[in-house]
Symmetry: C2
Subunit: 611 residues, 2 copies
Amino acid sequence: MPEPSANPLASPQYPSPLPPGAAERYVRAFTDQLLASGVRHVVICPGSRSTPLTLVFARDQRWRAWLHIDERSAGYFALGLARQLGEPVALVCSSGTAAANFLPAVVEASLLRVPLLVLTADRPPELRDVGAAQTIDQVRMFGSHVRWATDMTPADGTPALERAARGIAARAAATSMAAPAGPVHVNFPFREPLLERPVADPLPPAGHPVTVTPSVVTPAPEAMRALLEAARGKRGLVVAGPEAGGLPASLVTSVARALGWPVLADPLSGLRAGEHDLEVVVEAYDVLTRVPAFAREMVPEVTLRLGAAPTSKALNVWLAAHPAIDSWVVDVEGAWREPDATVSTMLRGDATSVCRALLEELAPGDSAEAGWLERWRDANAVTVRALRAGADALDEAFEGRAPLELAEALPDGATLVVGNSMPVRDVDTFLPRLGRRVRIEGTRGASGIDGVVSTAVGAAAAGLGPVVLLIGDLSFLHDFNGLWAVNRHGLNLTVLLVNNDGGGIFHFLPQADLAADAFEEWWGTPHGLDLAQAVALHGGHHVRLDGARGWASEVAAALERPGLQVLELRTERVRNVELHRQVIGHATRALEEALAGRAASVGSAAAGVTS
Amino acid sequence: MPEPSANPLASPQYPSPLPPGAAERYVRAFTDQLLASGVRHVVICPGSRSTPLTLVFARDQRWRAWLHIDERSAGYFALGLARQLGEPVALVCSSGTAAANFLPAVVEASLLRVPLLVLTADRPPELRDVGAAQTIDQVRMFGSHVRWATDMTPADGTPALERAARGIAARAAATSMAAPAGPVHVNFPFREPLLERPVADPLPPAGHPVTVTPSVVTPAPEAMRALLEAARGKRGLVVAGPEAGGLPASLVTSVARALGWPVLADPLSGLRAGEHDLEVVVEAYDVLTRVPAFAREMVPEVTLRLGAAPTSKALNVWLAAHPAIDSWVVDVEGAWREPDATVSTMLRGDATSVCRALLEELAPGDSAEAGWLERWRDANAVTVRALRAGADALDEAFEGRAPLELAEALPDGATLVVGNSMPVRDVDTFLPRLGRRVRIEGTRGASGIDGVVSTAVGAAAAGLGPVVLLIGDLSFLHDFNGLWAVNRHGLNLTVLLVNNDGGGIFHFLPQADLAADAFEEWWGTPHGLDLAQAVALHGGHHVRLDGARGWASEVAAALERPGLQVLELRTERVRNVELHRQVIGHATRALEEALAGRAASVGSAAAGVTS
């Protein structure tokens, strides 16, 4: 045996004052309760201080444990996995800045309402705030961005603490799932020795599994009566905004059908694609509400919004420009997703309970005036066709075409993860409604370009069907380390990477004009990297998309291949603005002409009547 | 002109209620004061909401503005730059999770005591906590990790606010520099429009530049008398711990010389290399204090520690094992860097003032007993030689050799940035003291492996001499995006990359033995990436280091080449532990033999006297 004293890192391991097995039993009380609370997946970043947690998760086959080497990516991976599964996912790291790297994903999980159990290892109290290595102030370090935070007491061998640990685990899991779902932070101080030799016939942790039964959220009956009163026979809109995991699509469309209203379906609402009643769904609102002839005439009397505020700024601005609209927003207690300050009534409840209550009361005569829904549908149909035709007319690569090709390629059961900045806006404008079960998810909580790759990788890890990511180059590079997990865990992910070498969205903003002197350096921000090389680094297969169309077959082919598949579409930022204007201009003109034709035919019909 | 309504992102720009130029004047009041306060560099991440800040920084040539596309890396880049320059660096990002990505660097800057001015753009109050895009709770979002935080009021055109902005800028810069230096957070809400056409003959911001004069910190005279009393004629040690930017080396060694004490110089203390009195400097303490024959005999009566607690666990454990030591720790008000809870007197003051006060009083008779310093120096010399000889005897690549080769290669004026985990420990053990001005810096605030690349890139951006980074593979990959800034900004950086495909340090821990079943997956964590390919992605030049030695010439050659230069040393994790044991074992045996020989010669001399 080599000299122990020659080990440059060895330090005396003091015998633990705890009885053998007590430290592990404390952790097991916590993790066993997590299992009892329905948590099955854990994402673990390597480290020493987190050893007691990592060991239990790694050794107990009831857990599906996922390794990640970058905590920032790991946080978003856990978020993507939890959102896909609709259940809390645990997230483990060592002490120090490791935990600080979780903050972006914690913030996004909070705003996106995704349940996460953030388990940060910490040094014991005697090593805090005294300059010890890898020790930072972790107590409530996520501030207002978690639903609940607690700092565990170091194991002391008492059964009382083991029972308390069960309660904390049960409460953490339940709190993360209670509406609005979100992240919970449990900080775990661990004393050395961090592990011991396994104990023969270990005692089980004290106490017994805890059950937490969630409350049932229903809207106030008086509020529902008031809503019925406000909605009956009125020209109204259901606005279906982004909601992680999707709104209850069939209930929402049933309500719309009963009211004779269209559903303006954000791509992230869960209503753009599926087997629900798509005939009431309108997807071209971003163009419709920009066309004065339509926007002037079709102002609703009432809106009922479910989910967050829509992605479409045009839609939001149009609604906000008409303060007379009786605006109802449905959301759970504590929430206030209402950036334009237009709400008339904040209806406390969740989408399911509100829709059910409405459907119980709505009768055939409650529908809006004849033609209201039809006019929306007709205008929508013209516009959707014209957007498609405008894109078809181009003989060069156009970013807005990517959603059209994906619409063709995505199979039933697929998930489309959409990046922020241009991708989500192009999907909003160009992705037609689909009669297949395609989940469309984005990170519109904080709408950052960070962590997007990892949310898609996490979705792929859920194993619920093929996952396709539509993302821009800056977002792709920002979470470049997220790609590592694809090969490491033998996952399959197809990426449609729109590469315009920089920040394409900024070209649509006033900066491009008013700060032309500084624009390319500070907003255009070309990165100059060869993304084929980047894909190769992570063992991915790279295909360059050529031509102006026909990419759907490449997507379909990529979905047949295992591992990381990246289809790169090269575009040019300035030209992209021109092409958007051209295609959307084509659609607005088509709508204007259709409306003029309709007005003319209504006019001649009227003339006919009066003649 | 294309149809404005066809712009998919256009939204009505309401005319500003502010007089023309007022919004910019408010920002200029702040940034002009930053210039007056000595801030010259700003690191900017792209975004829209931050436009008012970015524009002023980009257009005013008095600023050196650095673009970065990843906020996490940008934070550490700013930290590395600020540390190298010894002055506050501003750091700008847009609203949302962008700001959350700064947290790791903010935490490190706080613990490392590096001045940073974190300027986060935010939405105005009416868009906060109402579900607006890219809006998160940024008010005091860095919690206890900043020295000061404030939330600006949106510009309202009043001169009073402009004058207040000057005061906030002056206070922020001064607070970031006041001991202990650290990060300050200024949150900037901006309303649309975010920019306007330049105003002809703009008014200057109201008010005038503010001067903040720092206070002079000196220790209490009674405390200095007590220290002199405690130190005079005693066997003592000066323990020079890590300090960003370095301790005052000549003052410290003068004190040690006057007391007849050795200086145990952590590599990050600023005392391992330089033109000060290196004869009192001892660097092999990590081995010395593990050798029982030395450790038993050489226990000091008094220690005087400057800087943070040393990196060497062996040294810390040895000192903590002797509670009778009269342990003095010098630190400024508010700080408590004392993880082993061994301090007798916490002496409030800074290293410079304490050393000066001591030198004024110390007289020739105040030295420790004859031979005390010499015994340390002799043992140190034997051990340093033996470490070198042990490494020389190997005919295979050894990680501990990297610091020896760097010691040969680093020119006067160079900066060595040392990664955490194994690199800093190998440098601690193997880097001999150098009679050249070589700065050695690490991130031992929180001691994370994150952000290390960017601290080195930021140091290179300071332009104060060549920068070499010694780093392991996991740390290199964690901050992979940090490399982007090297080529983007035409910087020169030489990296000695020690690649053992995973977490080498964990093999020294009990996990390797007690959790052998789970070790390779959860602690070994091989990443399997080809790092030559990774270097190529960022336009770097990659050289594989071969053989067992002679890498110094490769380092010297790399320092002659521009851009990113990566020298990759491949090693094997399990073998690395064996080689460390072998080389350190050789050194401990050499020391034991030397001590035995000395004891024998003292014994025979004594025998001679008594015979």
